[in-house]
Assembly symmetry: C2
Homo-oligomer: 271 residues x 2
């Protein structure tokens, strides 16, 4: 597990990211599809949680999905093979030393990647160079500071803050969703449009109670328990109380809110 | 100014509520309209910030709008008169001692009222009694805990917390938006559906930067400066730093997020 990543590499995390993609796929991706013949780069595809959706929604586009981790790529390939997809090729590569030619892609897709990087604008600028003029870049990130719930709980807020702090110490930024607009503008993208994708969960939406509040968000927080305690950010009892209160928000009279942000920008034709 | 209200009664507050209604009218109200001949009760209409919109969108419905404050009602009437509306009648009344007959309304509309009440479920149950079986209740509330922004600022969060605490001390609840679903269910409404209405503001949306971030939200926080200092919740320098940081979020690379919640429920036909 790279020190620069807080989550995304453990088997249980894989499961969580799958649950997340399955539950949120319409919310996050229903408005992304690429025209016939488009050449699309997926940056930091990880275990392919988004890759299958992406490639299925644009069956006549051709995708190149890269990641730094060979293990993740192997898992991603298993997924696209199982889905019978033939329009994705995978490549192991480091974002900061990519083997692609400038202006060789029509579109770039980035999902849950920038949150792990200490230089997100530099990453976007690198990816922008790979876009042809007039091409688009789509960026999706969450924001853990957008999580609130009923009943409110300072213990649960503290447990979330542990993840935010761990991610910060690893060079990332768990509050990056709200920053997509200024980051994309700073990277030189044009006509940037950011739209929030809020997940609102009450007990009239049992699929989201289970799929998002419990198995995505609370599971993610539970996943950093040992790290948070080892780092001295919480003692076990306090952390467990926070997790208990997150589960409490999944009960009949509970409510849970979280927001993802999706930005789309263009590479100028005069760039 | 009633001790039970933190905002809504001062002239500057009137202006703010108007700005808010003007900016947010589509977001909050575009999906509310009542059929020809409907008899609709607007509870706690205040200075009529929502009344004009409501009555204009349902020109063939008849509205009764009540409030406890005669001054607010006079202002509300001036507004509907100026808009040339003839389908609204105003009545001064206390929510907890209403002069209306049971089951005398087809629909009830409640906006920015519950946040000021210490017994919101009792209020909803009272209003539900006035509904005919099969009638609907629409409830809209904000949630100050849903506010977050870039750059993040603990000073700004503290200034917001001052308003939350003042409202709590006055018997209200500034975090009530997220609770609409359980509150409406507890009041016995059926088929309750809550939808969040998130206001996302970056500099590509200059109307919202000015109309919402500055003139609605930040103005509201500025409006409790003296009360917060008098109550010992903040010293002047800390509060002013918080307000400065809220204005900072309205600059070119700033972002501001806030969410309103809108719930619609029915009175059961077997009630």
């Amino acid at each position: 597990m790279s020190a620069a990543y807080v989550h995304g590499y453990h088997p249980r995390e894989n499961e969580r990211l799958q649950d997340q993609a399955g539950t949120l796929v319409d919310l996050l991706h229903s408005d992304t599809s690429y025209p016939r013949g488009s050449v699309v780069l997926e940056a930091g595809c990880g275990v392919g949680a988004q890759t299958v959706t992406l490639a299925q929604r644009s069956p006549t586009a051709r995708f190149t999905s890269f990641d730094i981790s060979a293990d993740s790529l192997a898992e991603a390939k298993r997924k696209t093979d199982a889905a019978g997809l033939s329009n994705v090729q995978f490549q192991q590569a480091d974002l900061f030393a990519l083997p692609f030619s400038p202006e060789s892609f029509d579109h770039v897709f980035v999902c849950f990647l920038l949150e792990h990087l200490s230089r997100p604008v530099e990453a976007l600028a690198i990816l922008k160079r790979l876009l042809r003029p007039g091409g688009t870049m789509t960026v999706i990130e969450g924001d853990h500071g957008s999580a609130y719930f009923h009943p409110d709980s300072s213990a649960a807020q503290m447990a979330i803050q542990c993840l935010v702090e761990l991610q910060r110490r690893a060079g990332g930024n768990a509050l990056i969703g709200r920053q997509l607009y200024p980051l994309m503008v700073e990277a030189g993208l044009e006509a940037v449009h950011v739209s929030p994708r809020m997940v609102y969960v009450d007990s009239s939406r049992p699929g989201l109670v289970d799929g998002f509040t419990r198995k995505t968000f609370t599971a993610m927080i539970e996943g950093v328990r040992e790290s948070a305690i080892a780092a001295g950010l919480s003692d076990p009892a306090a952390f467990d109380a926070g997790v208990r209160d997150l589960h409490r928000a999944a009960e009949g009279d509970g409510v849970f809110c979280y927001t993802f942000f999706k930005g789309v920008g263009e590479k100028g034709r005069r760039a």
